[in-house]
Amino acid sequence: MKTLGQFVVWLSLAGGVLAAATGYLAALDQPDEQLLGLTLAAPAGLIEKPDGTTLPIVDTEDGRQPRVTGPLLGELRAAGVKNVRVKQFSLRRWRGKWCFLLALVGLLIGGLLTRRADRPRRAAVADQADSPQRILKAVQRAIGQLRQQLPELPDRATQLLAIVEQLDALAKTHMATFVDARSALVASLGMAGYASLMDSYAAGERQINRAWSAAADQAYAEAVGCLAEAARWMEDARKKLHGSARGS
């Protein structure tokens, strides 16, 4: 259903922009009274000079603003010109309006189809092997293990290296996967719930990033303190996720 929805969206968009592009076109087969007095916004018609070069019948260059007059209309029609681009917009004159309206309906339907297809069952989010709950637990476990491991390491250089390497690995694996679960989380928690969850998660993520930077800068105490704060924020995020999941 999602593919169908997207197809409808893009098809309608194409139709919509094409119809809109005709908004300022005035077809010359309309009655004179609808055309006389309009100001041309682009050159119109083409005449061939004796030397074989061509020129527009009426030009709009150098700031010229030619108005449609009776004789000009006759000349343009005689030269086979079908449309001219004008500066004034008129709903009555706009031939693509129904196509545009249809495109809007198409966009509406396509958008709703896509949205509907995106709405997975809430339970499914919790049941997956890489569900956000499990990823978050894995992140917490990794931070906890790192904090436990640090005092056992022989020297400061090894401790700092361990922080950099393990946080690098964490960022590439679980944390990247958690962020990828956005649409599932929004579907499960709603936008407000997701925002609240990500508020805590991002705060934890920032502490993890800060711990990495501090370790790279040999600031061990800062790095360790940030890990503790990261653990606190991840626990906060887990509680929010757990609470929302139970609520749903």
Partner: protein, 660 residues
């Protein structure tokens, strides 16, 4: 909730005292580098028509100065340095696009005297400073929504973070980053070299006969020469004439270049129909930004393909283009006649829809901001709303003072009102518009790295002229300049905050230094402009524009718009149609779709194509080597591409500045 930490002895706290972040050295470094970049890039922008952001350059310089020379400088200290430098640098792009319009409209400087002894100059400077402060103050509250909740990518911000983290990321990754820088410089050098001309400088008023340095165009890769006609066969002569018309569009009696200094025309190489534009810009920066954006950027490419492969050829086939527009001229005509207005409309509609859909997350972000004030443990990490309201209020007051001096006539929608009330309404509408514009630009930058500043400036000038009358050019340019500066600052701030998030910086510290330093940028740019004008008047008798060393191409484009508004040429219906389409596009699973499609219709397609190639390469690398590999090695390399082009542009600009 207890903050348990078995490893952290209490005597080590407070940790901030031991890990340097906001230091005097970093701030002074940022101010000095930012000021130099601001003046030199402002001059170069007036001369060659484009500007560059300063974050990446400042990050690289930060390592050299803070870590190398001063033997200090943590990752976060260098981050503060680049934050300050880019905050001081960035307002120049907003100013040079707008303010010189007054000089172009009135070269004699009688109606719009932009001189130090006239209030117009000072009010314009005040408006730009107000704009810079407003841009920062208004965008800070949506940091959480855009970076923490919506997870926007901000390619340049991501690239700068990769640079800042490179010392800790290991030697191999640093080499990968440097390889990216080297490749970018190598590829981009022939694009930039022709900006340098060698030979004796021309005297005032004389033709410039200097030779540009070598560029890609000098490889003379041209379209194949048509087969010679048999002079006795009229149909063969006709065939040759038609063939020449196709290969020699510029009429110089030579087949056109496939590879110019800046682009490669793949469409002509593979004989695409003339009305289908398939040209790639040679820009490692766009390629790198596309890669960093990844799959999401394909929507930009899709929008561009819709406009240039479907809409334009169809319009041409249906005979909806003027008869005098040749097939080859269709892309350019269509861009001005409907792609660009529809694109700007879609941007607005898409951004509005994005805003509506994001309301719950904005509300959560604001709740979190309020909570941060109460609970210092949860950050104290964001600048409080009270400070932002104070800064915003002061900036609006400054905007009112500036507007009050120049919104004089009694025309437009506000005609008949008390003049001060009119100025107040203009300042308030300007402030609201700046807030909305800041969000649009930050979204665009976050999703794609591009900021459609010129489109927003155009709409601002139109809006103000409608409010106060089409003859109120000074007032319109004043608010337009404030808007341009504000949205540039807003986009830059979000890039910096994204970098900050990725290296673990305290947002509050970045926000304070950016808010405190950004007002310096407009002052430096306006002073630079004053110097340039004085020098030009003395040497060639004209303040700025064609015929001077600073033709100000971007401002020249806005001048056309101002004259267009005065002549009633603005296609409002197309903006409206675009806006409705943009709103409805956001109904699907991705509320920001209208922004991306609008951006692709608005931007020059050659940049969109190169950007799209970057996105496709990311997808290809992810498929072959895995997503982790693509991020781990591809992002540093592409960060190098972004930095390499920016640094080379600055170097060449400096040479142009010094050499002329």
């Amino acid at each position: 909730m207890s903050l348990e930490n078995p490893l952290l002895p209490s005597e080590l706290a407070p940790r901030e005292a031991r890990y340097r972040e906001s230091t005097v050295a970093a701030i002074v470094f940022g101010l000095v580098v930012g000021s130099i970049m601001n003046a030199s890039i402002a001059y170069a922008g007036l001369k060659i028509g484009f500007t560059i952001g300063g974050s990446a350059i400042a990050a690289v310089l930060g390592f050299g100065v803070l870590r190398g020379l001063l033997r200090r400088g943590t990752i976060l200290e260098t981050n503060i340095g680049q934050t300050v430098a880019s905050a001081v640098n960035i307002p120049n792009s907003g100013i040079i696009f707008t303010v010189p319009v007054l000089l172009l409209l009135d070269p004699a400087q009688k109606k719009y005297p932009l001189r130090a002894d006239d209030s117009l100059f000072w009010m314009m400077t005040l408006a730009c400073v107000a704009g810079a402060v407003l841009g920062c103050a208004f965008i800070i509250p949506v940091r959480k929504q855009m970076i923490d909740i919506d997870r926007l990518r901000f390619p340049t911000g991501t690239a700068v973070a990769a640079i800042l983290k490179s010392p800790g990321a290991g030697v191999t990754k640093t080499f990968v980053l440097l390889a990216g820088v080297a490749v970018a410089m190598l590829v981009f050098l022939p694009v930039m070299l022709p900006a340098i001309k060698i030979g004796p400088r021309p005297v005032a008023g004389a033709e410039d006969r200097r030779e540009p340095l070598w560029g890609y165009g000098d490889l003379h890769w041209r379209m194949p020469t048509p087969r010679l006609a048999n002079p006795n066969d009229p149909s063969d002569v006709q065939r040759e004439r038609q063939a020449w018309a196709r290969v020699d569009r510029d009429g110089d009696r030579r087949p056109d270049l496939i590879l110019t200094h800046e682009t490669i025309d793949v469409g002509r190489l593979f004989h695409f129909p003339d009305q289908v534009l398939f040209v790639f810009a040679i820009t490692p920066l766009s390629l790198g930004a596309g890669y960093v954006t990844g799959r999401a950027g394909l929507l930009v490419l899709a929008g561009g393909i819709l406009a240039y492969f479907v809409l334009n050829p169809f319009v041409f086939a249906m005979g909806w283009t003027p008869e005098s527009i040749t097939a080859a001229a269709v892309p350019e005509y269509a861009h001005g006649a409907f792609n660009r207005p529809l694109g700007i409309g879609m941007l607005l509609g898409g951004a509005l829809m994005g805003l509506v859909v994001s309301l719950p997350s904005i509300r959560e972000a604001l709740k979190s901001l309020m909570a941060a004030r109460r609970d210092n443990a949860s950050g104290g990490s964001e600048l409080g709303l009270r400070v932002l309201l104070l800064a915003g209020g002061a900036a609006v007051a400054g905007l009112f003072v500036a507007a009050d001096a120049f919104v004089g006539s009694d025309g437009g929608w506000l005609g008949g009102l008390n003049p001060h009330l009119r100025s107040l309404i203009v300042a308030l509408v300007g402030a609201v518009w700046i807030w909305f514009g800041g969000i649009i630009i930050a979204q665009c930058t976050g999703m794609t790295d591009w900021s459609p500043i010129s489109g927003m400036a155009l709409l601002t000038v139109v809006l103000v002229m409608l409010l106060v009358g089409v003859q109120e050019v000074a007032g319109a340019v004043l608010i337009g300049a404030a808007m341009c500066v504000a949205i540039s600052c807003a986009a830059d701030m979000m890039q910096d905050l994204k970098t900050g998030h990725l290296v673990g910086a305290q947002p509050k510290r970045q926000q304070i230094v950016e808010l405190a330093c950004t007002g310096l940028g407009p002052v430096i740019t306006m002073a630079t402009l004053l110097l340039i004008v004085a020098a030009n008047v003395q040497s060639v008798g004209t303040p700025i524009g064609p015929g001077t060393p600073t033709p100000a191409p971007q401002a020249d484009a806005l001048k056309t718009v101002v004259e267009g508004v005065q002549g009633g040429e603005i296609p409002y219906a197309l903006y409206g149609c675009g806006a409705v389409l943009g709103v409805l596009l956001g109904l699907g699973s991705f509320a920001g779709l209208g922004v991306l499609v609008g951006l692709s219709m608005y931007l020059p397609f050659e940049y969109v194509l190169t950007y799209g190639v970057g996105c496709l390469i990311h997808m290809g690398v992810s498929a072959v080597k895995g997503k982790t590999w693509a991020e781990e090695w591809g992002v540093p390399f592409c960060a190098g591409l972004i930095v390499g082009e920016a640094v080379l542009s600055l170097i060449i600009n400096a040479v142009v500045l010094g050499y002329g």
